[in-house]
Symmetry: D2
Subunit: 365 residues, 4 copies
């Protein structure tokens, strides 16, 4: 349930409503949107009477129920406005969201050694990436495959972060490693295979680092948003959704089928930012560029691309990795497509500043 | 198997090779590409010895086997070059292909009455469509649903063709109606549910009208190309492939999942032109424009979009139909995206002329 | 909509109701069940008022709407009773249905030559099969694969029928061949790839031979019943449904996934008899026997098993064919399982006689 | 790689080979089968030369490579023989395996309160169940759904165990709870959503309680066996595989599609015991009995059935739960089917005793 306040409602009035709701064991969440301030009601709202809440203040414009099973993840919860996920990196804040510039994430499947990860970081930064991806802990189908270099790989990511100022995205597979991963990562990735590892979702929901939630390989859009809801409900509002291909009957020429229609569908259902990973989505580097461009045309807010200095010798996922040169070309093409859909990189300065200003006022009451 | 001729090979030499091959019960097919002339060998080529064929002439550069199960549909059969499908319409020739301008097809799911079909045709033509789609015979899941107006609808399509000069695309469900449909249609559509109706494929392969072959809802890319091969093997080289969404585990928010990765995959496997139908692909008009743009960014050669003057009152597929105004806006956006991927409408005059010139020389020996 | 008559309603009263309904452009269909006589109403029943129909006669017990989209195929249409499909073969009538003995169908994928088809027929008959299957027209993914011997194969099937008295089941792919196929076949098969070839469904619905309708490889249960409805709506009440495996994400070890849960689901939704084809369902002969037994345990009314005298040399589907000896062993095992689920072959004499008696009285008014 | 010893090889010879292999950094695992003793080689076997190993002793019959990606889970690893998982319960040892009696597991989705769990345990024990299932920690799609009573539910399971002597199977979702769960559970369940939670697999592989590994909802058979391999490779040989339905395009009438063909496929690929869960497999109690019977006919070694004293009031999964009375009837039917496939409960006394005797001699060297 949300309470939509009239424009220009005084803070004191909102405060009064919040106190009243808290006395009814409801946690209010103030959301300052572009047009309206909205109070999201969290807790056992099924017993609430919208009519009675309406009576709490003459500044209340409307009291609306959310009929979706995912409440905080739903677009209604923000009264139709998209949310932004702000991430602090050494190079400054980066914002993910529908009204923000496209954010590029790139890097190897797994961190192999210091030289390769730092070289990759430098190269992708030069092409415009804001984040370096790289696996320290790798979920592999076979116990006999390379499982990632673990803790030492985290240190190499930290070194790459220091060397380039890029933000770091790396996967968390086990809550035992949460502290160590959170020390290095600016965004913690939950992989497709753990999308319904609800224990892990609750734990990353209870800490502060933003979460990149990959879609499970046979997760419906609803399943996926319910998993996001686990994180949001545990208190972490910073969730980015990442489509990485779904499993279908045809696996001969592509590893998965990249579901780009998830972009407009999510846009209509949720306020959360949307990332697309065409590398896992297709599994073949030759298909990555066109699918990356298609993702931008379809409205993606961010792209995650696997880049490796020497794909032929990669310890994992070589066939789907671009070279740094290929990545550079792709980034130029993406800028062109971005402009064609009115999301060129020059466009957003004021938008982001606006969003940042509003961000300051986003306080969980 | 194909025989690649050296550049500048004299016609007489090619003729000599053809005669020799025919004497071995092989049907040779001469393909004049941008760089090379290639002779495709059709028939029982498994018994042929490439080394012996190489001996037939010093002008033979290479004899290559095609290891794909789809022979004539494979890109190798044209030595890596795309093919063009040229369609004659009252407004002139229209070419479909990788090196041709994007071709727009639009119209209602089914032909309902004269006024609506002619109005729709006028409106979509004004926005840049080259073909009018419209169903006379409708494949419906239920025998109690509207099955199309049949023969009388064909007449209305003919009237719309005359009124606007647009080419006509309409579906053939039954070979009994082939003659009547072929009289009106400039391109005959084989629908998803008949993609493996091999009898029908053979029959449309044995006539001359170009074929639009929709992908079956759970057809693999390979299945689909094998169905195209049925048509090509029966003698009709003019096949356009149309992706219209596949069936997956998630059908809650979209009717199907539009598989845009089919575009780069097909591009690498086949020379045939590729069309995308985001209307059936998503089933919801609100998702059609972004998916149409994504399709162009992914390299589609053509788009099929459902347009209805009054979607709310459509006899079928209303929820996925754009209004003529929405279509007009979309066409402008598509032009912008087209330019961003170097396929803007102004670019192709010389290309098409070139292709047309080579087309003249495409002769099945 | 159905009209349930009270027990002991006089025929004249039923006749009167029928006449009244016909005058309202409704076609009544009298169904004599074990407990009640029911009149099924066919036509535009949406405008009918159940209350008014109830007034037509004091012998009417209830007027019930059918809320399923498949009307005549629904179990409600027969007021909860299963239907029987009676097929005349040289060896006598064979009944398919929930209250009938299990019917075994066996034979090769395709008819290869006279000796093999007659030998196979003799062997499977000796093991208890009532029908011989064998393809004359084969739907093959590739145009270059063996397409069946066509008309000459039909003659061989006729010879096998004469030699053994077995009924014949063979596939129809093209309505042009309907007459020829119907001359030989006791049951006409519509294959998975043509399950939504609605033109063909209408045509086999308009003739009298019973139809075996295979499930499309990605057809939902509802799609499938809607296709059965096409046949029923066209006037042919004799439809048997055959599950033959569906297409899923896993195709490594089996050709398809045999969906045995379709059996209880169909049982609850429809009155039509259910056949299971574990040969196509698994694609490997080693898996056929256990899946055949599982099908019986799950309640299948009939089994279709591919049997070939020499699977290693079969022109098609060899890997999924049993030898005649393996089939003989399987049939013994099936009899044991049949008894365990109360469907042993000895049990039904009186049931079938009863059904046959009622069959006589099934008349489309 | 495995070393097959000749029949009657002296222990000292096997010991000698083991020592030699250990000196090459290979861990040998002695498997005493019905016919042969086999030494499984674990470690980096890719560098081993089978010919050289053959030279180690004249008592070596054969040295065989395992070409499957799952090594210890493969049937070859036991030279074609099935393995047994022996579980100690208060009522005695229970063995799961191809040559063992069918083991029945029953109980509610989640442990709701003391009365219901003890009543259910008593009732299912009376019908022949050997294990009580019941969730303390529940993986739920929504964070707002009942998540299980956790630790207090574990205490109730312990009470039910004491009251009835049944073994306990309950799900582990988080390694933090491993100790507590292992204290109560005789078999620890890893749920479908955690099938590729590789961290959790490694942890349950490193402890001694037997593991029930449910198939992920879109896991291929190979994925599933690779996940079993994670547990086996970590040192726990006691893994039972449980099929519980896969996700397909059709979810209208059943929650999942129960893949019974997994039974013969697994039988040919692995030595591990196979359990079927028709409750989750279908999601509807009315379909559970026939699918349970079909599972037995297809060769399942064990069944897991949801039973609740009052399904209509269950906190979770009510629609798929049988009543205790329905379960009793089903157990009688299953006994009949079991006999029909030669797995009746009376048959196994000597087999199990044999297996137990050999079990004593299964030692990881």
């Amino acid at each position: 349930m949300i309470v939509v306040m009239k424009q220009g409602s005084p803070s004191s009035e909102i405060e009064k409503i919040n106190q009243e709701l808290q006395s009814q064991n409801i946690t209010p969440e103030k959301i300052v949107g572009k047009h309206n301030t909205v109070i999201g009601l969290i807790g056992d709202t099924q017993t609430l009477n919208p009519g009675q809440i309406q009576q709490l203040s003459p500044f209340i414009e409307q009291v609306l129920s959310i009929d979706k099973p995912f409440k905080r993840a739903s677009r209604e919860f923000r009264y139709g406005e998209p949310s932004e996920v702000f991430v602090s990196t050494p190079n400054g804040f980066v914002a993910f969201g529908q009204n923000c510039p496209i954010v590029s994430v790139a890097g190897p499947c797994s961190v192999e050694n210091e030289e390769m990860i730092i070289e990759t970081a430098r190269r992708v930064k030069a092409s415009g990436a804001k984040f370096l991806r790289g696996g320290a802990y790798k979920p592999r189908t076979s116990p006999y495959s390379f499982q990632g270099h673990g803790e030492s790989a985290l240190k190499l990511l930290a070194a790459a972060r220091e060397a380039t100022g890029l933000g770091i995205i790396t996967e968390l597979m086990d809550s035992d490693e949460l502290e160590k991963v959170a020390e290095v990562a600016d965004i913690i990735q939950i992989g497709a295979r753990n999308m319904q590892n609800f224990s892990l979702l609750k734990k990353v929901g209870a800490q502060k680092k933003p979460i990149l939630l990959k879609r499970g390989m046979s997760a419906t859009i609803k399943d996926w948003l319910m998993s996001a809801e686990y994180i949001l409900a545990a208190g972490n509002p910073n969730v980015i959704l990442c489509e990485r291909g779904i499993r279908t009957f045809d696996r001969q020429y592509t590893r998965n089928i990249l579901d780009l229609s998830a972009i407009p569908v999510l846009r209509s259902l949720t306020h959360l930012p949307i990332m697309i990973d065409p590398s896992h989505g297709t599994g073949k580097s030759e298909y990555v560029p066109v699918m990356a461009k298609a993702a931008i045309a379809a409205g993606a807010d961010s792209l995650m691309i696997e880049v490796h200095p020497n794909p032929a010798k990669a310890l994992s996922d070589g066939p789907q990795s671009l070279t740094p040169n290929q990545y550079q070309v792709l980034m130029q093409e993406i800028e062109v497509i971005g402009q064609a859909v009115d999301r060129g990189s020059q466009k957003y300065l004021s938008t982001v500043r606006d969003a940042a200003r509003r961000q300051d006022s986003i306080v969980t009451v």
